[in-house]
Symmetry: C2
Subunit: 331 residues, 2 copies
Amino acid sequence: MKRPTLEAVAARAGVSRATVSRVVNGQLTVTPQIRDAVMRAVDELGYVPNSAARSLVTQRTDSVALVVSEPPTRVFSEDPMFSTVIRSASLELEAADRQVVLMLAGSPKSHARIERYVAGGHVDGVMLISMHGADPLPAALARMGVPVVSYGRPAVPVPLPYVDNDNVGGAEKAVRHLLDRGRRRIATIAGPQDMIGGQDRLTGYRDALRDSDRRSIVAVGDFTRQSGAVAMRHLLQDDPHLDAVFVANDLMAIGALQALRQAGRRVPDDVAVVGFDDIEAARYTEPPLTTIRHPVSEQAAAMVRLLLGLLRGGPAASVVLPTELVVRDSA
Amino acid sequence: MKRPTLEAVAARAGVSRATVSRVVNGQLTVTPQIRDAVMRAVDELGYVPNSAARSLVTQRTDSVALVVSEPPTRVFSEDPMFSTVIRSASLELEAADRQVVLMLAGSPKSHARIERYVAGGHVDGVMLISMHGADPLPAALARMGVPVVSYGRPAVPVPLPYVDNDNVGGAEKAVRHLLDRGRRRIATIAGPQDMIGGQDRLTGYRDALRDSDRRSIVAVGDFTRQSGAVAMRHLLQDDPHLDAVFVANDLMAIGALQALRQAGRRVPDDVAVVGFDDIEAARYTEPPLTTIRHPVSEQAAAMVRLLLGLLRGGPAASVVLPTELVVRDSA
DNA sequence: AACCACGCTGAGAGCGCTTCCAGAAGTGCT
DNA sequence: AGCACTTCTGGAAGCGCTCTCAGCGTGGTT
């Protein structure tokens, strides 16, 4: 029971292979009658074009790689954002009739594999989700002539179009909100400084404070809940009188809330807390977390559109999406 | 700047295309000298085989589809298990040098797309992650001669090898634990009954209770946190004297804890709670949640191995993995 | 009536690879 | 030295498709 080929359809419809090919590919230069006859033959035989044969001649594959670089701390794979990005990107690509080939870029070994794969022309383009700075993959892929886009701004300057959210602006918003509420000693728990999100959010914090005359109080975490709790304890030791803290992501903010509770501080009365990301769990903390929301799905969708544009020969114009302050009870 | 072909490598190495092909595919019938010469030419030219041409003749694609059927409630995409399964399956497949094509099966429209895709021989096999019963996709795919395996037992009886965890046994363990602790009125918050996990965990609860003379008290949720809270309130109305509840997943258990707190019940003093899944958040609830852990990563890896076995012509032997009771403070 | 132009179809080449088959070269034996 | 046998390489076919190009038929024009 072999799959029918163009040949078989052509024989059944009493036309040539070329004509069947035209019909299947939707060319309009075919007489309606013949067209119908071919369509009927296609249906009857259950014909589906062989993609290997097709891409052999067209040099296209109609599929793109979604390369996920995992940072050392593995937060990413436990992060709900991971699935949101994958889901949104997949939906958007499927709407454009492209297949998604998922590739995990953990080890250097897998880097080689991915480079080979992409160099081999198995995919028309690459979407890169890489959050840590030292990653050589973006540069490597960018070099080999395949359209590549990045989810999030690449940490090292590499000529790669990207879609990011406004991390700096978001952090500024958060800090300004705390200032507006009359907070005077505003600390921050920053993210890892080898991740661009960690860097930018710290920059935003500093920028917002610079305009006021407050001094900055910084602890650094690694975006995990535990590290947030640890950092918060350090901050409380360093400056027992702090009355607000901007935390670079919600996971760490949840850890910080825990640490504050254990230290006997009331939130927001004694210490106000603002997070970043607006993950699901931020709604259910005690008290519910004030945070900065950024549009993860839209960012992923925008990334896909950017890549599809490149595939059509469009311009490589990076996109930065705005963030939004979500005020709940913690600040 | 075109990619080099076999032809080019052959010319450079001074041999025929056939020989280069043999070397590239690791056949051992080639003289070491020639082999080396070919390898050198491959390296120098940066040759990478064209997969389209290769699969055109071999009829293999070396890639498998990972089809994710999303249940109506969308818990799945917010479920951390989602990314765990994808991640684990990807790693296992990459180790076997197979590519992962990710496909979302949301709408009936996408079903048609997936069937076409698979029927078109674009992939060598299919892994199905489908949790709700009415899904026609498993049966449809099973019918068309492509190796298919399922993550989780298919809800409708369909001749499809699967890898599942022991939902029934796990639920029994949970309830027996509550019985051992001397609980007398043990309710359950069941999952959706159109999902196999929901069904089986309820069965396990009933089985464990049948052996004792306790009566069952059942509320049904949809695996979301909110539905857990709602169900818990109903249970408290129905039977204010219940002293334990087995909740069919942790997300609902977290909702139940919330509802219990609001109703002024202490956990575990007044009401003991056992969840299912052992998600990350279960560690951080107040009090930490006693729950049933099942090996998500291993289940995914086992599914991959099962499929790879099928591709090699192996037997279609389904696998059921054991679960484990994790005792924390809530019961 | 003859010619031209246009619209449509079919023949055929070729995409890059694997693999069968035949033939060349090398080995051990009589 | 000659033969059978093994080992290895190259020629060539063909996987299923697209697309160029030539050719045919039709209708309009002079």
